[in-house]
């Protein structure tokens, strides 16, 4: 088990290192980093000063070492738009994004697992067909279209919910549904197919023969085994949710990290973007590694592999 987890971890570190290096190389290839790091109206003096501070007068190898040192010590430079450390700008907006993502993931798991079990127990029945059609739509519907459609109906037409912003619980409803829908659909499909596989197994028949009633079989015997692929999917949802929050936060004017990233691209705020891609790739890789570790706890067979 340890060997397996360590291997995954090393792979993850290699991925993050590759991303760091790619960003470094790309920023050097794309042109003078000073043009990215300073606003267009910077004076020649400011440029020269920054050039020296960043060590751009040194060799590329030295620059690379300095860059990695900055990353390790958490010094990612200042956002030139906000004129303060990017880490500060990022941390300030993190809670809003985490709340949104956590609520969406919770919704996706509850709805997805519930709908998946219902569909599996009613295999090929009307309820199964209905749920599967819904999940198809949920997967094919782009979040920016869904978000705007909901604003049109619930804010503009019915005036039930605020069209955007970060406030009381009502402001959470539409962003959470928008962000969680596609995850819920994937989870429902996977839970259904996992349950169908498991319900065919001998031990489920045995459980039934022992006289256990439906709910006990479903929850104690079937779901635990059907959950394995779903757990893998949950790890992958970290990336999906981060990518989704970039869009959903723009649609609903949500003051989170996703919005920060889009603004950074629009204004060419390169330090912010650089930090974002490093932190996001690190957290996605971490989420995937944790998933693998969790997987080996849930399924003893994996430990051997």
């Amino acid at each position: 088990m340890h060997h397996f987890v360590v291997k995954r971890l090393l792979r993850g570190i290699a991925t993050v290192w590759f991303v760091l290096t790619a960003v470094f190389v790309a920023s050097r290839v794309a042109g003078d980093p000073v043009t990215f790091l300073l606003p267009d109206n910077a004076t020649p003096d400011q440029r020269a000063e920054l050039r020296q501070r960043l060590g751009l007068d040194r060799s590329v190898v030295e620059q690379y070492a300095l860059y990695l040192r900055g990353v390790v010590t958490g010094d990612f430079g200042d956002s030139f738009r906000e004129r303060r450390p990017v880490t500060q700008a990022f941390v300030e907006r993190l809670p809003a994004t985490l709340q949104l993502a956590a609520a969406s993931l919770a919704l996706a798991v509850v709805l997805g697992v519930g709908a998946g079990i219902l569909a599996a127990l009613n295999r090929n029945g009307p309820l199964d067909r209905f749920i599967m059609s819904l999940t198809f739509i949920g997967q094919a519907l782009p979040n920016f279209v869904l978000g705007i459609a909901m604003i049109l109906v619930f804010s503009l037409l019915l005036r039930w919910l605020p069209s955007g912003g970060y406030g009381d619980w009502r402001s959470f409803i539409m962003p959470v549904i928008t962000l969680g829908t596609s995850s819920a659909s994937s989870i429902a499909r996977l839970t259904r197919s996992g349950m169908l596989d498991v319900l065919k197994q001998d031990y489920v028949r045995t459980a039934r023969a022992k006289g256990l009633v439906g709910a006990a079989i479903v929850l104690r015997h079937a779901l635990r085994n059907a959950a394995l692929p779903v757990v893998t999917l949950l790890g992958m949802q970290a990336g999906v949710l981060i990518a989704g929050s970039v869009i959903v936060e723009t649609v609903f004017a949500w003051p989170g990290v996703g919005r920060l990233i889009v603004t950074a691209v629009t204004f060419g705020d390169f330090p912010v973007l650089q930090f974002a891609i490093v932190i996001v790739s690190a957290s996605v890789v971490l989420a995937n590694s944790l998933t693998d570790a969790l997987y080996s706890v849930l399924d003893p067979r994996v430990r051997v592999a």
Partner: protein, 293 residues
């Protein structure tokens, strides 16, 4: 004996015919997709106005079916530009970029996948590492970084959507290559002295065509979404050109005065992704039953 055989053969033929019959829903999907492609190709011919013609006196008019005039069937935007014209051109841009992007992704992925599977070794390790990296990152973020560094332009956008789906192709094709490479008849051809090139082209490629077609369909709707999302954020297709995502993004700011401005391009995007997804599911069932879940 012969009667039974004949009956069995008849039964098998019937089964084959039944299997080949295309469900009505899929026929409808193909018709809709064909129609959308035709509209996109013919946009410059059938669009009633010029893409850029503004008329400030005709701003934010509702579509004809909601009480507007028939001069502007889908109404007008905040600058008085004809929405029917803009949606047609937007459709053209979106489908065009998606088509080019899908082809780039497929070519890149298939080439690297075949090479990786055929040669193995360090090349295989390198390609698979890149696949891993791309699969573990949210691609929207990679796209945003590339756009931030290279600035927004049509070329950059095509490049970005082109590299969006290569990794799935590479992974699947590599797997297929490895599977086919171990088959006795391929080993036999190699033993007979066939060169690697011949094995790749004559034996491996025909065996990976089905999954490639399925993946290309999946990738196409993904690329439509990616382009729409980037343009929606204002980081994809730039004015005066437009795409469905750009129209949706622009329409959002004026939905208080005319809700059809975001609704119509949104509806077209959903239509494309639904239709292509349904066709993709059907193709997978027909061509590649192994991938069924």
């Amino acid at each position: 004996m012969t009667a039974r055989r004949a009956r069995r053969e008849a039964g098998e033929t019937a089964k084959r015919v039944r299997r080949r019959r295309v469900p009505p829903l899929i026929v409808a999907c193909w018709v809709v997709l064909g129609l959308l492609v035709a509209l996109a190709i013919l946009a410059p011919v059938i669009a009633p106005y010029d893409l850029r013609t503004q008329s400030l006196l005709q701003r934010l008019k509702p579509p004809a079916f909601l009480g507007g005039s028939t001069d502007h069937f889908l109404g007008t935007d905040q600058l008085g530009r004809d929405m029917l014209t803009r949606v047609l051109y937007g459709l053209r841009t979106t489908l065009g970029i998606a088509a080019i992007g899908t082809v780039i992704g497929m070519t890149l992925g298939v080439t690297l996948g075949v090479l990786s599977g055929m040669f193995g070794g360090w090349l295989d390790d390198a390609v698979m590492f890149l696949v891993d990296v791309q699969m573990s990152l949210p691609f929207v973020l990679v796209a945003l970084t590339v756009i931030a560094m290279l600035d927004t332009s049509l070329l950059v956008l095509v490049l970005v959507v082109g590299i969006a789906g290569w990794e799935i192709h590479a992974r699947v094709v590599r797997g297929q290559v490895l599977a086919v490479k171990g088959l006795p008849f391929v080993e036999a051809t190699q033993a007979l002295g066939a060169r690697l090139q011949r094995v790749a082209l004559r034996h491996v490629l025909p065996n990976v065509i089905s999954p490639i077609i399925v993946l290309t369909t999946v990738n196409f709707s993904y690329v439509v979404l990616l382009e729409s999302a980037l343009s929606f954020l204002g980081l994809g297709v730039q004015p005066p050109n437009t795409s469905l995502g750009a129209l949706l993004g622009a329409g959002r700011d004026y939905m208080m005065s005319n809700w059809t401005l975001p609704a119509i391009p949104g509806l077209v995007i959903v239509t494309i992704t639904m239709v292509v997804s349904l066709i993709g599911d059907w193709l997978r069932d027909v061509l590649d039953p192994r991938q069924r879940d």
